[in-house]
Amino acid sequence: MHIRGKVMKYGDNIDTDVIIPARYLTSSDPLELAKHCMEDLDPTFTQRVTQETVLVAGKNFGCGSSREHAPLAIKGAGVQAVIATSFARIFYRNAINVGLPILECEEASQALEEGEEVEIDLNQGVIRSLTTGRLFQAQAFPPFLQEVIREGGLMNLVKKRVS
């Protein structure tokens, strides 16, 4: 599966409280949550994000609260994938479970700049900058998680097991 998009870049330790502040957590509708995505960090985010955005961030992306509303808000906003140096572990699980593509790649997260055009081969974990031509290889997912991703999220797998 291939994704194309334009980079929006953020720093280290982007926590789930800024991704989606708790005051909006009475809803779990991705489109509703998306209206407030990142607003405490970058009030321009919701105006600039498009259906072709790739988020690029530093280390420990998604730290803090376990709220699954965070990857839902990002996905609802139209973001195609998140590339980071590293992900906080709960966010990592949540993103896979809700079907938000994530890629762990320090090199790409450092090299890619705001506004760069990128193409991502999700199956191979290869990130290509269409602006500079540079190629990056993200960490591969363990086989079990590849299965979850292939099934389109954890609940589909659960449903298969119980039916």
Partner: protein, 420 residues
Amino acid sequence: MGMTITEKIIAHHAQKERVVPGELVQVRVDLALANDITAPLAIKELKKHGIHRVFDPHKIALIADHNTPCKDIPSAENVKLMREFAREHGIPYFFEGGQVGIEHVLVPELGLVVPGDLVIGADSHTCTYGALGAFATGMGSTDIAASWVLGETWLKVPESIRFVYEGERQPFVTGKDFILYTIGQIGVEGARYCAMEFTGGAITALSMDERFTMANMAIEAGAKNGIMEPDEKTLQYVKSTGTTRQPLLYASDRDASYREVMTIDVSKIEPQVALPHLPENVRPVDSLSRIEIDQVVIGSCTNGRMEDLRMAAQVLRGRKVYPRVRVLIFPGTPKTLLEAEREGLVRIFLEAGSVIAPPSCGPCLGGHLGVLAEGERCVSTTNRNFVGRMGHVKSEVYLANPYVAASSAVLGYIASPRKL
């Protein structure tokens, strides 16, 4: 090669002789909990996929503690959804109203977790139960929903980091200061994906309440779990809950493997304050310039237990809250509040000019019951000081122990009780 306590508990629940860090395993779950923010999402996921059964209703806990007493109509709808789900599946551990407390204070208090258990929760501070010698970790709603159906979950076995605390602590230094100091040393991702194993003579000397505080904040260093080997104090605590469940006592082998071993001399630790906007921005309280404050919050899953209230009351007894400052006290559970009333602490708090709030997560996550306005500063015994965490994006949260929170309330600026 031996195993750590974390590896042993995971191996037991994976029905394996041994596990090694990095291995992916399927584990049986003893309890899977969710609150009024995360449970509705889990319940909706199940409904969406047409799944109408749970593995074992006794292994589910639903705790309406975040936006309760319900702050608005959507919050009330969320709790209603939990209530109906509990009724539909015969889930006995659904808590609201006069039964509800802050989940990570309530669950151990009721004896729903015992040493050796493997617990997952749709709340990042689920790691609190590591203080009992259990493996406990936070996940998201979908993972919890899956475990409700299957009775199990997948885990990557974490590497362990061993933190050895030795020495005698100074006055007004608590478990909160040990953990803040440690996060200051290793950073907010210093233990990412790892088990933080807390050990040493200074841990043995801590009360259970302080141990809960330490394990609670393991997530603030990015850890998967925080854990302590159970001892006499642990067993005493478990016995006091009246649980009939049998604890399984694990300890790390001497030749267990660690990513790192850190020794911390607690006699050198002063009361700590984490400045905005990360829990790793810690400073000794006495090194701070005069930081004037508007609000003080004492409570939460981090510091809402009896010991915490006693610490605050020790400082507030016979004193008055500084006129400009609002003090909000959140006892962890109804039982904590009742005990505080019996010991005369409620009177001390009220006479000092504090507000006694119901057991709720309330302002910790900027939900309700004490949200901050633009430019306001709050000293809080909670666990996170992220941008906008307790309210306005331009408000500030300073994390501290209950002594420091109470003395700051009296003085109107951040200071330890030594300044009184």
